[in-house]
């Protein structure tokens, strides 16, 4: 294993806690909005780290770019979907926690 | 000289091409359908003659030979069914074109024609196919087209269409599972190739059981017939005709193809008796139900359940040794039934259209203008009952001979009892014409003579089949897979 692969592995490893925290938030937070918050924030960072890590580890620039593209698409869609869910919840009359 | 391999190409491509034209230009529907229908009938006749002259042949698609490529087989069996399909297709199209638009329960007449042609093409593709997966796709094709045509009647017909769709989809899925097993064992999908390599072992038995179950469901064999009466009874007349005559026969055709082809080594007395008993039960149960029906079209629909039962008698009789007689007799009976049943549905459609109501008690009274339809009904009934010299008689005669030759007196009794039932319910229908009927508001609908004539043509065809019995026997023997 050379240095590049070590760096990649480290990045992937760094991504894992974000996923864990996001999942923990999903399970433990009190309402839809806070859960969305946990998922949309933490998981996206985790995914970014994993993608970049895998790309670096592969040693191919094209593959790295492809993985980053996947991450960007995921960011866009998760942002939109989170917004949609939150709006629908609001429209259905779910009040945010604590208000 | 055009090579005979052009025949199947025309039979496959023309209906699909015509369907596309009719879909794009609904205004040209009737001329395009009737024109291509005429060509298709002529081509089917030509194929029959070619098979009679030079025996069966096989055609490879795309120049690839079997296990890799797909093939078509044209033999006596497929040629007979192609001809049946073309006759019913053309007669049904004439009927539908001539129907009085006001009383026909077709929601959207523009879509009848593309669906009709698609069904025609799908059935032709099915009768030609020699590849198990190609048969699956063709089966789905036929199912969707049938569902569309049944649903055209709107209202409760759509609920019937839904039941039919579910039953037939389940049937094809079970069939496909069998195909997967066969492929996993023999790496071949071609029927002829499988027939050479199949060995009687567990995988083959399970695959055969699955495929048979799926096809029995599609053929509406008792007790899997629950979906048929509503679907066939409520569809528009021409659709009922093609469904009862050809679509059901198509599933039966596959059963025969498989059991006398790849699965022939498995056809022991046990399996054969089981299938025969199912057939016998269908004959009796369907006959009884038909006797109890109050609506003309439902009576005919139950009769389909009953009549197809005869076809299954081929298995015990063939397993007992009278392969050739049983085979020609059963196939003859199914083809004669197809023509007669289509004639019955078209005649009934014309009569019901004229009266505006389908209950048997209502159909009497003044029959001026429906005479041709009733005559067609009577001739078709004669063929269905099996009066000489009709095709139905010849088929039953051969089956009875096969039963006598093998000492299968039980099957002979079923044959006789079923005939009695058939005579009973058809007599009930014919009797209705003699009695005073109901007055319908607005009087009787004037009908185009083409309605009765299309039914009469089919009925005469079914009767003439009996006169052409020697030719039919020669055709069915031509590479039927059993004798060849």
């Amino acid at each position: 294993m050379n240095t590049v692969q070590w760096i990649g592995g480290l990045l992937v490893f760094l991504g894992i806690p974000f996923f864990l925290l996001g999942t923990l938030g999903l399970l433990r937070f009190p309402d839809v909005y806070t859960r969305l918050h946990a998922l949309a924030k933490a998981d996206n960072v985790g995914l970014g780290l994993v993608c970049i890590g895998l790309g670096v580890q592969s040693g191919s620039v094209a593959l790295l770019l492809k993985l980053i593209l996947i991450w960007v698409l995921m960011l866009i869609s998760s942002a939109t979907v989170a917004g949609l869910i939150a709006r629908t919840a609001l429209a259905r009359g779910l009040r945010p926690w604590g208000t | 000289m055009i090579p005979e391999t052009t025949g199947p190409v025309v039979l496959f491509s023309l209906p699909l091409a015509a369907a596309i034209v009719v879909f794009i230009r609904p205004r040209w529907s009737v001329p395009v359908t009737l024109g291509s229908g005429g060509i298709l009938l002529a081509t089917a006749l030509w194929v029959v003659v070619a098979v009679l002259r030079q025996g069966p042949w096989r055609q490879d698609i795309g120049g690839w030979t079997a296990p890799l490529g797909i093939g078509w087989t044209v033999d006596g069996l497929s040629a007979a069914l192609l001809l049946l399909n073309a006759s019913v297709g053309l007669a049904g199209a004439v009927f539908h074109a001539a129907r009085p638009a006001a009383r026909t329960p077709v929601r959207d007449p523009r879509f009848f024609w593309p669906l009709w042609l698609f069904l025609w093409g799908g059935l032709n593709a099915l009768f030609l196919a020699a590849d198990l997966f190609n048969i699956y796709v063709a089966l789905e094709f036929v199912s969707i087209a049938s569902v569309g045509l049944i649903g055209l009647a709107g209202g409760s017909a759509q609920a019937a269409a839904w039941r039919y769709l579910l039953a037939t989809l389940l049937g094809s899925t079970i069939y496909l599972l069998g195909v997967a097993l066969l492929y996993g064992r023999y790496a071949a999908l071609d029927v002829a190739l499988l027939a050479e390599s199949v060995e009687p072992e567990l995988v083959t038995v399970v695959a055969a059981a699955l495929m048979t179950l799926g096809l029995l469901l599609k053929a509406a064999v008792f007790p899997l017939h629950f979906w048929l009466p509503a679907a066939h009874g409520r569809a528009p007349p021409a659709v009922s005709a093609v469904l009862s005559a050809v679509v059901i026969a198509a599933a039966y055709y596959l059963l025969v193809r498989l059991w006398f082809g790849p699965f022939a080594p498995l056809l022991g007395p046990g399996v054969a008796t089981l299938l025969g008993l199912l057939g016998a039960a269908a004959v009796l149960w369907g006959g009884l139900q038909a006797l109890l029906q109050r609506h003309l079209k439902m009576l005919i629909a139950y009769s389909t359940v009953s009549q197809l039962g005869y076809g299954l008698l081929v298995f015990p009789l063939a397993a007992a040794g009278a392969v050739q007689l049983a085979w020609t007799g059963a196939v003859m009976l199914v083809v004669a039934h197809g023509l007669a049943k289509a004639a019955l549905f078209l005649a009934a459609g014309a009569i019901v259209l004229r009266h505006g109501i389908g209950r048997l008690e209502a159909l009497g009274g003044d029959q001026q203008g429906a005479v041709v339809a009733w005559v067609a009904f009577a001739i078709a009934s004669a063929s269905l009952v099996g009066l000489p010299p009709t095709g139905g008689f010849v088929g039953k005669w051969w089956l009875a001979q096969a039963a006598l030759a093998t000492g299968g007196y039980f099957w002979l009794a079923v044959l006789m009892l079923g005939t009695a039932f058939t005579a009973g319910y058809l007599w009930r229908a014919l009797q209705a014409a003699m009695r005073p009927g109901w007055e319908t508001e607005g009087g009787f609908q004037a009908l185009s003579p083409a309605l009765g004539l299309s039914a009469l043509g089919l009925a005469l065809g079914s009767a003439a089949l009996g006169l052409a019995a020697p030719i039919a026997a020669r055709l069915l023997d031509a590479g039927s897979g059993v004798v060849g």
Binding site: - | R107, V137, A153, S156, A161, L169, T173, L176, L177, I357
Partner: protein, 102 residues
């Protein structure tokens, strides 16, 4: 591969069970789709077991998926129509007496 072979069998059983016990029209359709997927899975497992990898089942399953989505779409359109029959009474009246004249 044993895992996927078993999976195919279990899915087939679930689909069959669902198909025969479900009352809801839509649920039956879902069960039928599960059933079809199980058959496709068997095909692909067989392709994977073959040496070298067999592309024919892959093509078969691709064809099958498209056929299945077609049948599903037709079935769904029918479900929506028959469920809506109560509302579409006018259309039916225009279509003529049903059952009798059919």
């Amino acid at each position: 591969m044993t895992v996927y072979l078993s999976l195919s069998g279990v899915l087939f059983l679930i689909g069959l069970h669902g198909f025969f016990t479900a009352r809801s029209l839509l649920r039956r359709l879902l069960a039928l789709n599960v059933l079809t997927t199980a058959v496709f899975l068997l095909f692909v497992v067989l392709a994977r077991l073959a040496e070298p990898l067999d592309p024919v089942p892959h093509a078969i399953v691709l064809t099958g998926i498209v056929v299945t989505v077609s049948t599903t779409a037709v079935a769904l359109a029918l479900v929506v129509r028959i469920a809506g029959r109560v509302r579409d009474e006018d259309d039916d009246a225009a279509a003529g007496p049903r059952g009798d004249a059919g």
